[in-house]
């Protein structure tokens, strides 16, 4: 009896070693970056970048060659099948790192195009999103010669901007809850092809409402302040602000600060005049990084701090105005009102009134040090 059991169990290991579901690496082509576009006449095209790393015959990492394939189709899945027809091995987007959305497509509802990522358990939800102003395919095909690994060019741009608090990581999963939930919207990094098609640059954060791009962005020079208000900080954060007008030479109008520490609190409550009043309290501890005027004695400091606070508050108001114009509730004010005042929320038509609610930024700056040169 015992021997029989052992025999059965042993034979199990022979039979049941997962033969059915093996998917060998050599049999698939992994797409690392994909670009989704809508052409002028509303035809969906999918372009993918497939890196080819097999030709490293000599020692050391070989120069990576990349292959671009473009296909059209009714849905991403169909376009995938059309791409597959031209490949010797089958194409798999399961290791997709970056998903670029063309401006035209982003302005429509993006959800139908990303649905497959949520549905298929083999696909990774880790793919980072970016909106490309103009044509996404064009941005994907930019391959600077200086890059060792062209397939990582765009991902690298996005990642380094997250580190310096100029952008935030937006992948399919972080976006998921925000697409579905009422009363909150999200931002996606925006990019643009520059230098006559030789480089791609990060341009700021594209504001989304529900699941479509509103066409408005937080411009690049305001992103850091915006992200700090939203309580997101990368490894480092620094800002350059214009303090004064008309000083000569030109750089003397500016100051650069390095944010060492910060707290951000967003509080919303119902109010009479504007339906809702939101206070954004941002407190920062900063180091003066650059002060071209070159006269930074202790006695100047209180005035300078005041001026910085004033300038930043103005910037913050601009940012808030942009989001309200775009109808993009990126601070999740609606969700917070729903969370704390559910009965009041039911009386509001949020999409209509969001433009007119009162959002007040309060920015406090505390200068910790002036640097080693005084």
């Amino acid at each position: 009896m015992k021997r029989l059991v052992v025999v059965v169990l042993l034979s199990c290991t022979l039979v049941l070693s997962g033969c059915w579901d093996t998917r060998e690496f050599k049999e698939v082509k992994l797409g690392i970056t994909a670009a989704y576009d809508l052409t002028e006449d509303n035809v969906y095209t999918n372009t993918i970048l497939i890196p080819n790393v097999q030709n490293s015959s000599s020692a050391g990492p070989g120069q990576e060659s990349v292959q671009f394939l473009t296909a059209t189709g009714g849905t991403p899945q169909e376009a995938r099948a059309n791409i597959d027809r031209r490949l010797s091995s089958s194409y798999s987007p399961s290791q997709l790192d970056v998903l670029l959305l063309g401006e035209n497509l982003a302005k429509k509802d993006i959800y139908p195009y990303i649905d497959a990522f949520y549905r298929d358990p083999r696909l990774h939800l880790d793919a980072v999103l970016a909106v490309v102003k103009g044509n996404a395919e064009q941005a994907l095909k930019v391959v600077p010669e200086s890059e060792m690994r062209p397939s990582e060019y765009i991902e690298g741009i996005l990642e380094s901007n997250v580190e310096t608090t100029r952008s935030m990581e937006v992948n399919l999963q972080t976006m998921g809850a925000e697409i579905f939930e009422n009363g909150q919207d999200f931002v996606v990094p925006a990019m643009q092809v520059g230098d006559g098609g030789k480089t791609v640059s990060y341009e700021g954060l594209a504001l989304f409402h529900k699941s479509s791009y509103t066409g408005k962005d937080i411009p690049f020079d305001h992103t850091t302040l915006f992200l700090l208000m939203k309580n997101v900080k990368g490894k480092v954060a620094s800002m350059t602000t214009k303090l004064y007008d008309g000083k000569e030479p030109q750089p003397n109008n500016y100051v650069s600060v390095h944010v060492e520490d910060y707290t951000s609190k967003i509080k919303s409550k119902p109010s009479k005049e504007h339906k809702v009043r939101t206070d954004i309290n941002l407190e920062m501890t900063v180091m003066i990084e650059e002060y071209p005027t070159d006269d930074l004695s202790l006695s100047v400091l209180p005035r300078l701090t005041k001026d910085i606070e004033k300038a930043l508050t103005k910037e913050a108001s601009d940012i808030i105005k942009t989001t309200q114009d775009a109808d993009c509730d990126v601070f999740g004010i609606g969700r917070s009102i729903y969370g704390h005042y559910p009965d009041y929320w039911k009386k509001l038509d949020w999409d209509k009134i969001y433009k007119d609610i009162e959002i007040v930024p309060h920015i406090k700056v505390n200068v910790r040090t002036r640097g080693i040169f005084r």
Partner: protein
């Protein structure tokens, strides 16, 4: 069955038989019935399940040394007791079948779409059979060992806190009364393995006071673990998205990236099969015990094989399409109420009558 299990083994065997398939889909099910208040109903359900644990330990105390079927016979009479015993046999079988089919479907959807489901069933069945073949003491030791997985898996769930927002728990108190009742019954059923206490209690060392304490403690551990998973998934997904996701606990780990493991969701799924196996093994064990108590006692291994063949056969039928699966689940829902709530309450009440009889008998 001369040997008894220790108190700590008793705790682990109880915890492991509670945590089964439910842990993966509980957040969604709760959210569907009670909305964002699902976690509150879970707490209430947990408290109610403790009441049942108390009742069961009390009943068991009144009939020392007798397991569920003995108690049924001595309190309901021989005929009715045997009938109820057979009822429990069916119930345990159905739960085992439910566990097996849900496990098969999950693994098929998430991990091994090409592998025939029959093989997945066989794998789980074989390991469960091997576990219970040594009797309760061996089972207890194996379960105690597997408790390690519980701590490990809870730590991995922490990845879900990345990108989570506390605001998703608000607003509270929005569910209707019927929603609350729904949520409470869902949570009580998710903890319904307390019926198995009838089978474990008589074979545990220690006084009834100690046993009661351990059983309540174990029950609280399970309820807290459920609460932990529910809170994480509520905070991670928010209301609207959660409705679309049937296994939120796995889903939220899809982006969690670590240096060692790229797809933590699949890793957790593999660890979870341990829970699927232990819960399945407990019910298989219970069904086998029940089968042995049917008239005309058989040899032990024959009991085991008959039981597992029935389970396997029905599971294969259930795995054919979603409609068959639905029939099994509906049937289980229908009978669960009687076997986990009504009969334990009845036995509890009857145990008072019996005590009076006994006292009366002693006096005369």
């Amino acid at each position: 069955m001369n040997q008894k299990i220790t108190l700590s083994q008793f705790a682990y065997i109880y915890i492991q038989s509670q945590i089964g398939v439910d842990i993966l889909n509980l957040p969604t099910v709760l959210h569907k019935s009670a909305g964002a208040d699902g976690w509150i109903t879970l707490i209430i359900g947990g408290l109610i399940s403790i009441v049942f644990v108390l009742m069961i330990t009390h009943t068991s105390k009144c009939y020392p040394g007798e397991d569920l079927f003995g108690i049924l016979k001595s309190s309901l009479g021989k005929k009715l007791g045997s009938l109820a015993g057979f009822g429990y046999y069916v119930y345990f079988l159905v739960v085992a079948i439910y566990l097996l089919t849900s496990y098969g479907e999950l693994i098929n959807q998430w991990l091994l779409p090409e592998t025939p489901v029959l093989l997945l069933y066989l794998l789980l069945l074989l390991s469960a059979l091997y576990t219970i073949s040594g009797g309760l003491t061996v089972m207890a030791k194996v379960f105690t060992f597997f408790a390690l997985v519980l701590f490990f898996i809870s730590a991995l769930f922490l990845f879900g806190f990345i990108n989570s927002k506390l605001i998703y728990l608000q607003p509270m108190g929005q569910a209707t009364i019927s929603g609350y009742l729904d949520g409470i019954s869902v949570s009580v059923y998710s903890l319904s393995s307390f019926v198995l206490l009838f089978l474990f209690l008589p074979f545990t060392q220690g006084s009834y006071k100690q046993k009661r304490r351990v059983a309540i403690g174990a029950n609280i551990v399970v309820a807290m673990f459920y609460l932990y998973t529910v809170l994480i998934s509520f905070c991670h997904f928010g209301s609207e998205q959660l409705e679309h996701i049937s296994q939120p606990i796995l889903y939220m780990l899809r982006t969690a990236d670590s240096i060692l493991i790229t797809r933590i969701d699949i890793f957790v799924l593999c660890l979870w099969t341990v829970f699927a196996m232990t819960a399945f093994a407990s019910y298989l064990y219970a069904a086998e015990k029940a089968f042995a108590k049917l008239p005309k006692p058989q040899k032990k291994m024959i009991n085991v094989y008959t039981t597992s063949l029935i389970v396997l056969g029905v599971s294969v039928w259930g795995g054919l399409n979603e409609r068959n699966l639905r029939i099994i689940i509906d049937f289980q829902d229908k009978i669960t109420e009687y076997f986990t709530l009504v009969i334990p309450i009845l036995l509890f009440l009857l145990s008072f009558l019996r005590r009076k009889d006994k006292q009366g008998g002693a006096a005369s």
